[in-house]
Amino acid sequence: MSNWRFIFVSAGIFLAEYLLSFFWPFLLRAELFIIFALAVFFLDSMRKINFAIIFAVAVFFDFWSSSTFGNLTLILFLTILFIFLIKRVMLVDNRPNFSALLWLTGFYYFYLFTKGILYNFGGPYIFPNLSIINLIETVSWVSAMLIIYKIASHEKKIPRF
């Protein structure tokens, strides 16, 4: 996936979230950009996207997040570090789609648990919603982001001469 496509998809996610917050505010129970960023980091084995771009877009989403500035970026990068360690230890690169779906769901829940600590620092721990319905919703959003990632990262192959 190219840098421009990553920015384009992120802008689309921001607009989609903005519109959903009016027309159906209680539908969106997941952070789409976070899932997308995790999918990119987990699946983009060619490292085509500049890390600074991911950082800059994460900072932009951080401005609109529901807590103090910096928390979202920090948790995202902790999760990315976690993915990096998992990839190193367990060699999970180039997994089939279903396996990637499970891994990404796990990484997203790791993000949510970390967020529960940092977003209410000093107060009681805010547990993420762990109901079956919420899990189904999360898996649906992860699947949707995986599809968007696949479409966005599809590039025309130049035939060999």
Partner: protein, 241 residues
């Protein structure tokens, strides 16, 4: 830095917010014409009742002022009001917040209540920037309020049940610390008690369900927040004088 970004984006986002709210209102009213007519009839009859109740309140207010004067009691503190426009709402599944377009420039401080339409509590200001502020909605799980339950037919006159509310996202609010012995019914009104620094009698919501608690001590009560059924565009911030 956050403030600079909001300065750039708040005007276009604010206008979009207003436009989208109007569109949503029109679309909804188009599909609910029959319902609206019925509601209109109901509101008319309620309005007639309120007019007579209002007259009684006016008389009571006069009597109250007279008695205060006689007793030398200082009148309850009033509040100044700042008007703001919501330009961003964040519902991410774990927290619920919104951003408003006034901040330090209007003298806002963290902890000030944000209300709309007839003293319905919307949220509390948590972070203030130069020209904007972040509001935690009452349905955010980080928000706890001291509340009271009113208008129960089962309660003797003047007796109110005190409780603590906690935000439960799309489930509205949960009431805590209400003993199983208390008689509470669905539809009763929940309002702020004034014990936690907020003004008293701000409308929070209506009781949706009441269940006996599993532990045998406290009830499990769900409250439907009043703001959920409204379109939020402009809000008011209560600033102590």
């Amino acid at each position: 830095m956050k403030n600079s970004v909001f300065i750039v984006f708040k005007r276009p986002l604010g206008s979009t917010h207003y436009f989208l709210n109007q569109t949503k209102q029109r679309v909804f009213s188009w599909f609910r014409t029959g319902e609206i007519l019925q509601e209109n009839e109901k509101l008319k009859s309620e309005n007639r009742q309120l007019v007579s109740a209002n007259l009684k309140i006016y008389e009571l207010e006069k009597e109250n002022n007279f008695l205060r004067k006689e007793l030398g009691v200082v009148q309850r503190k009033n509040f100044k009001i700042a008007v703001a426009r919501v330009f961003h709402q964040q519902f991410d599944g774990q927290f619920q917040t919104s951003l408003i377009d006034v901040g330090d420039n209007e003298g806002l401080k963290p902890g000030m209540p944000v209300i709309f339409d007839g003293e319905i509590l919307y949220g509390i200001i948590k972070e203030v920037y130069q020209t904007s502020a972040m509001v935690y909605l009452i349905t955010d799980p980080r928000m706890t309020l001291s509340v009271k339950i009113k208008n129960s037919a089962n309660q003797p006159d003047g007796q109110e049940i005190m409780a603590r509310s906690r935000g439960a996202l799309d489930n509205g609010l949960l009431l805590e610390l209400v003993a199983n012995q208390e008689e509470i019914q669905a539809g009763e009104t929940v309002m702020t008690s004034g014990l936690d620094g907020l003004p008293s009698a701000l409308l929070v919501g209506k009781i949706m369900t009441v269940k006996e608690g599993r532990g045998g001590i406290f009830k499990e009560i769900k409250v439907e927040p009043e703001f959920k059924s409204s379109l939020i565009d402009r809000v008011f911030i209560l600033k102590p004088l």
